[in-house]
């Protein structure tokens, strides 16, 4: 030390030490204090976090999280739409049943139709019965049989549409029985088979959606585990030093977790935003192209593309879940790593 002349200074006493008495650390005469320079402010802080963030493959990880979030939101949105559409179909279908009366040799059709509507109306929860008149039936058959037919000459079954009051559950079994006994050749179709099939299909789609969703989540978690391990390995020196100066696993994992939570939030937000924009664009497109055959077909299959409030809330929940899982995965991975480092039993190395 050749910097400044040694001059005795009073023994400094750090006053708020833990423990009993303040312990002077050194006789200050041992070290010369270089004269204080004035007018220059030097920062004591590097501005770095304890775990240097540049060493973490942040960009790539954030991108992966964004893609995964996008896929998760897409799956969730699609499942929501399918579920909603299936539900709409189902309630439409189950608000109506059909009575079909096949022509019998010795049965007068008009009388049979009247008899059948009387029976149907006799049940509770039926709001109206409409017989499809001959013109309507002819129209219905036109694509197959051409125009100008006299429908009365053909053995075409009569159809009666029975509308059910909303929320009512008429006893279809009893109705079917009554019709069978009183109107020969009649049958009641409550579309149960359709509804069942529709339910099965919707359920299958939801299951597929849930599987895809789970796979995406699992892939996200695995990616985060690898990224965390990579970050720990490239910061092994930092982790070891922290551990030697007395940091516990919680402190160390906080340092990493903060960083990964940020990455997770950013990635999830951008992926979710992309998915939301996609749904909004599809919704706009489908409402703009209403009337074109493609749009009608798509509408018939998927309803409108509108996600609805619940869909968007779902997306937000998914995003929070992804960010949270990212942070949690990091925490668990770091804890494991640090504990293995702390483990005295790991042997000489």
């Amino acid at each position: 030390m050749t910097k400044a002349p040694e001059k005795p200074t009073p023994v400094p006493k750090p006053d708020q030490q833990v423990g009993s008495q303040p312990r002077p650390i050194i006789e200050a005469e041992n070290f010369a204090q270089p004269p204080k320079r004035k007018g220059r402010t030097k920062r004591l802080h590097s501005g770095s976090e304890i775990v240097p963030t540049e060493t973490i493959a942040g960009q790539a990880l954030m991108f992966v999280i964004a893609i995964m979030s996008f896929l998760a939101c897409l799956t969730l949105g699609t499942v929501t739409i399918i579920n909603q559409t299936a539900h709409d179909w189902q309630s439409d279908i189950s608000r109506e049943v059909t009575i079909q009366i096949r022509p019998f040799d010795n049965v007068e059709m008009d009388k049979a139709v009247r008899e059948a509507s009387k029976i149907a109306l006799g049940f509770e929860g039926i709001s109206k019965v409409i017989a499809l008149n001959d013109d309507a039936a002819a129209k219905l058959l036109e694509p197959w049989l051409g125009t100008g037919l006299n429908i009365e000459e053909l053995p075409v079954p009569k159809l009666l549409t029975v509308t059910i009051e909303s929320d009512a559950k008429p006893d279809f079994e009893a109705m079917r029985e009554a019709l069978k006994v009183n109107v020969p050749g009649s049958s009641l179709d409550d579309h149960r088979a359709w509804v069942d099939r529709l339910n099965t299909m919707a359920w299958a789609m939801v299951m597929v959606g849930i599987s895809i969703f789970s796979l995406v989540m699992a892939a996200t978690i695995l990616t985060v585990i690898f990224a965390t391990r990579g970050a720990m390995d490239s910061n092994r020196n930092v982790v070891e030093v922290l551990h030697f100066v007395g940091a516990d696993a919680g402190f160390i994992s906080n340092e990493f977790q903060q960083h990964f939570l940020k990455l997770g939030l950013k990635g999830a937000a951008s992926g979710g935003a992309a998915a939301t924009l996609l749904f909004i664009a599809l919704g706009l497109w489908s409402s703009a192209s209403i009337g074109t055959p493609q749009a009608d077909q798509i509408k018939a299959l998927f309803g409108t593309f509108s996600l609805g409030l619940s869909g968007y809330i779902g997306i937000i929940i998914v995003l929070v879940l992804i960010a949270f899982l990212t942070a949690l995965t990091t925490r668990i991975t770091v804890h494991r790593y640090v504990n293995s480092l702390y483990s005295y039993n790991s042997g000489g190395k």
């Binding site: 030390m1 910097k3 400094p12 750090p14 708020q16 030490q17 833990v18 423990g19 312990r23 002077p24 650390i25 050194i26 006789e27 200050a28 041992n30 070290f31 010369a32 204090q33 270089p34 204080k36 320079r37 030097k42 920062r43 004591l44 802080h45 590097s46 770095s48 304890i50 240097p52 020196n237 930092v238 070891e240 030093v241 922290l242 551990h243 030697f244 100066v245 007395g246 940091a247 516990d248 696993a249 402190f251 640090v338 504990n339 702390y342 483990s343 005295y344 039993n345 790991s346 042997g347 000489g348 190395k349």
Partner: protein, 219 residues
Amino acid sequence: MIKFENVGLRYGLGPEVLSDLTFQIKPNSMQFLTGPSGAGKTSLLRLMLMSLRPTRGLVTVFGKDAASITPEQLPAIRRKIGVVFQDFRLLDHLTTYENVALPLRVRGSSESSYRSDVTDLLGWVGLGERMHVLPPVLSGGEKQRVAIARALIDQPDILLADEPTGNVDPPLARRLMRLFLELHRSGTAVILATHDLGLMDQFNARRLVLNQGRLQIYD
């Protein structure tokens, strides 16, 4: 405070680096650990720090069998032990000031509570003007003093220092020695590994001498 009973150490399948060590480090004691290069000084310090597990024998630290200490208990014990590594182990992306403050930071102390302690200590080791620089800019001797300051900042019960005067010229080495003596006087048990006989001769303290894996003690 630290007790070794018939401790032996070998790395992998190699020869025994340390054999049959039996000794005790008493509270508030001062000792040199010496021996030629490669004698096992660093290994012995690592055994005391519990960063290495002995191949045989019993290590007791603060009255606890080291083998029975769980990962959850370890940080609390580490906080009572200050270490100066032979290769310093400073964090290159943090300033000198932040490096020295690190032990307090991991204990959850707030910056306002330790700021003046850290700057004072850095002044005392002659680094008052180097507080704001990153370690790669420091000379070997300066790094060494940062490492020492970091080990002392929380006034540990035990100080393990591995060749802490290895990179400085003799006058500075003597100053640093005074620092350790002062620390010892204020209640810390100090273990200094060094092969600098000249330095040891200037200070009267217990000597643990390692030679060919065996330990001889001169009180």
